[in-house]
């Protein structure tokens, strides 16, 4: 097997692919992965003849209006409330994604508190219940590697939406939203613990699941799963992350 197809995934290639999908001045797409070959099986030769195939995997991109259901109205009200409080909507909400019937607002980190406050307090939005913050690590999403995802519920209007804040790995700081949603206390601690996102202004951003002196953040993609080979009936089963796998 020639090793040329495998050598395609250099840093320059990845950036090139990311730039290619964000061409045209639109909001950048969230690149999840750039893959080569047909089956994505690492470590063994791709004998399919499609070894040079490069696939860029991106999350669903921004949606154009109309968003459908109650989404348009809610986004309009949020824009109005934000403008009233002196925050330009386009600065605060970088893009709106509607996928699989769920509304996601991509929020700039410096405005996350204002957006949360508007969503919680305005009587036509009233997202009074938060289901917490979770994280996701996209190592190929250059400059936006770490995502914090907020899940909000409006009991009053029976609505649900998701806020997503993306930050660079090198500057993983997001203002804490504990002041708006006190329930985020432990959730932000968990996201810090697992992803290393620092929530500035959190009352006590300590590790919560891992021991206090644990090095590293285990849910990041560059953190290995770990494990040892297990012998069973004469055969040796490698740990889960070293088995042959398909993407």
């Amino acid at each position: 097997m020639s090793d040329a197809p495998q050598a395609l995934t250099t840093a320059a290639e990845l950036e090139g692919a990311a730039a290619a999908v964000s061409a045209g001045g639109r909001a950048p797409l969230d690149v999840v992965d750039v893959r080569t070959g047909q089956f994505g099986a690492p470590g063994s030769g791709d004998t399919s003849g499609y070894g040079g195939l490069v696939t860029t995997v991106v999350l669903p991109g921004p949606t154009a209006r109309p968003y459908g259901r109650w989404f348009d109205e809610a986004v309009d009200i949020l824009a109005e409330v934000l403008e009233e409080s002196g925050t330009p909507f386009d600065d605060a909400v970088t893009s709106v994604v509607v996928d699989r019937g769920e509304l996601t607002l991509n929020v700039a980190r410096e405005h996350i508190l204002a957006v949360c406050r508007a969503l919680r307090d305005d009587q036509d939005l009233r997202f009074e219940l938060s289901l917490g913050v979770s994280g996701a690590h996209y190592p190929h999403d250059t400059g936006r590697e770490l995502h914090a995802v907020y899940h909000l519920v409006s009991v009053t209007h029976s609505h649900r939406l998701r806020l997503e804040v993306a930050v660079a790995d090198s500057d993983a700081h997001i203002p804490s939203t504990v002041a708006v949603y006190p329930t985020h206390d432990w959730h932000e601690r968990e996201t810090w613990d697992f992803f290393g996102i620092e929530f500035d202004g959190h009352p006590a951003l300590a590790r919560i699941e891992m021991p206090d002196d644990w090095p590293g953040h285990p849910q990041r993609k560059d953190y290995p799963l770990g494990g040892i080979p297990v012998e069973y009936k004469g055969a040796t089963v490698p740990p889960a992350d070293q088995r042959r796998s398909y993407r």
């Binding site: 996601t104 219940l129 995802v149 919560i208 021991p211 002196d213 090095p215 799963l225 796998s245």
Partner: protein
């Protein structure tokens, strides 16, 4: 070095093993405790810090409570979690979508069916096959969830009573739960860690005669429930211990993101089954019990009521299963449906002989499909979803991200136990030390779900 050296640390450092140089070592005790002790010594006050857990019998597992007490009054309460963290979410990123069920069923081990269902609903939403799941599979899911709700609430009542010294409540509750576990064993083959709900449907149809067995079991559970009510509802000791204890009003609940019986005993009838119906809950007849006492007593009464509502729902599912008769319990799409047809053989549950005969003897394509689906799994289109179900402890949310591959890119479970434990401080501070046990029991945390 003498101990009077200024600035020298007073605590003992790590024990350094010469052979282990370069290998990181961890002190699992954590930093909180020594900080509290140091602060207490510095202030020189007569205050007592009680470390309760992680092995305390009344903490429902490995929950650690750090309580600062003044006489019998708790002045500060902190909860420490993480002792049962097993990295289930991380592990799920290295297994196929179907294998994920076997991991998430081990999170909240008292209510495993709910984690399974929430995860499978999320996978189905990602795949866009929510409407293709056969009706029979959905009804079986509701049946299993409501049976599990009964079992879980019985544990909450039983252990809650036991922690107050009422052993009979414990034995009665566990005996009644046993009836539900027998049904689970009959249907899934296991008492826990079922992995019964699968993306696309359920692993297997319910066995013949199961409907009658469940109807009989419900009669027994009702009988035990009446005993429990007699023991609990009029009991002056229980009332004295539980009324007004663990108080958390509606605004406190909303701020802390409390859901489930804790929120409903504060008067808000919020239930995901009504607010954001899934699995066809909008077609069933049931009520959401509420209380307005905001205390441990109210939560207990709400749980008892919910057991009756769950039994009512189980009866409706039994009627539907009876009426609809046998049918498919897995999506028709052979690219998603797990190919196996399970059956019980002499060596336990495995592939049915008919299925093995087909793939080994007559159809090479079926064999290839079986092999590819089991080893490689199916691919799920890129995107992310959030799916909630009403678990016995509150709203269980699953945040799933797919990168278009055969494994979850990220799976996060918003477990109600994890969130609800944040209320321990608010519920306990200013109260008596003995009431901490009642307040924690009224939250009914399961540490497997908290730590995942």
């Amino acid at each position: 070095m003498t101990s009077s050296t200024p600035g020298a640390p007073r605590s003992t450092g790590h024990i350094v093993d010469e052979d282990a140089t370069g290998i990181p070592s961890f002190e699992a005790a954590g930093g909180d405790w020594s900080e509290i002790a140091e602060e207490a010594a510095r202030l020189g006050e007569e205050r007592i810090v009680v470390n309760m857990g992680p092995q305390h019998p009344s903490t429902h597992g490995v929950l650690r409570l750090m309580l600062e007490i003044d006489g019998e009054t708790v002045t500060e309460a902190r909860a420490g979690v993480g002792y049962l963290h097993t990295g289930i979410e991380k592990n799920m990123e290295f297994r196929t979508w179907t294998q994920g069920v076997t991991f998430c069923t081990r999170m909240d081990y008292v209510a495993p069916i709910f984690s399974e269902t929430a995860y499978c609903l999320a996978v189905e939403k990602l795949l866009g096959i929510t409407d293709d799941v056969p009706e029979r599979a959905t009804v079986i899911r509701v049946l299993m969830m409501e049976l599990n709700r009964i079992a879980s609430h019985l544990i909450a009542l039983a252990t809650g009573g036991n922690e107050l010294g009422a052993t009979t409540i414990m034995t009665t509750g566990f005996t009644a739960r046993e009836e539900v576990l027998k049904i689970f064993e009959l249907i899934t083959g296991l008492r826990m860690n079922h992995a019964y709900i699968r993306p696309g449907g359920v692993a297997q149809d319910i066995p013949p005669g199961a409907l009658d067995t469940i109807r009989d079991a419900l009669v027994t559970v009702r009988h035990y429930m009446r005993q429990l009510e007699d023991l609990m509802l009029g009991n002056p000791i229980l009332q004295g211990r539980m009324k007004g204890v663990g108080y958390l009003n509606l605004s406190g609940c909303m701020a802390l993101g409390m859901t489930g019986p804790v929120l409903r005993c504060a008067g808000l009838p919020y239930d995901v089954r009504k607010a954001e119906p899934y699995c066809g809950y909008e077609t069933y007849d049931f009520e959401i019990p509420v209380a307005d006492t905001c205390d441990a007593w109210g939560r207990m009464v709400v749980r008892i009521e919910e057991i009756y509502q769950a039994m009512h729902l189980v009866e409706q599912t039994l009627d539907r299963l009876q009426a609809s008769g046998p049918g498919p319990v897995m999506v028709a799409d052979k690219k998603i449906a797990w190919p196996a047809q399970l059956a019980i053989g002499s060596d336990g549950m495995g592939n049915s002989l008919d299925h093995i005969r087909e793939i080994m003897g007559t159809s090479m394509e079926a064999l290839i499909h079986h092999f590819k689906l089991v080893t490689e799994g199916f691919r799920v289109p890129t995107g992310q979803v959030f799916q909630s179900v009403e678990a016995p402890r509150g709203e269980l949310g699953v945040h799933l991200v797919s990168d278009g591959g055969t494994k979850p890119y990220r799976a996060h479970f918003r477990d109600p136990s994890f969130n609800n434990l944040q209320a321990v401080s608010v519920m306990c501070e200013g109260g008596l030390l003995a009431d901490v046990v009642v307040a924690v029991a009224s939250l009914d945390p399961v540490l497997g779900g908290v730590d995942r």
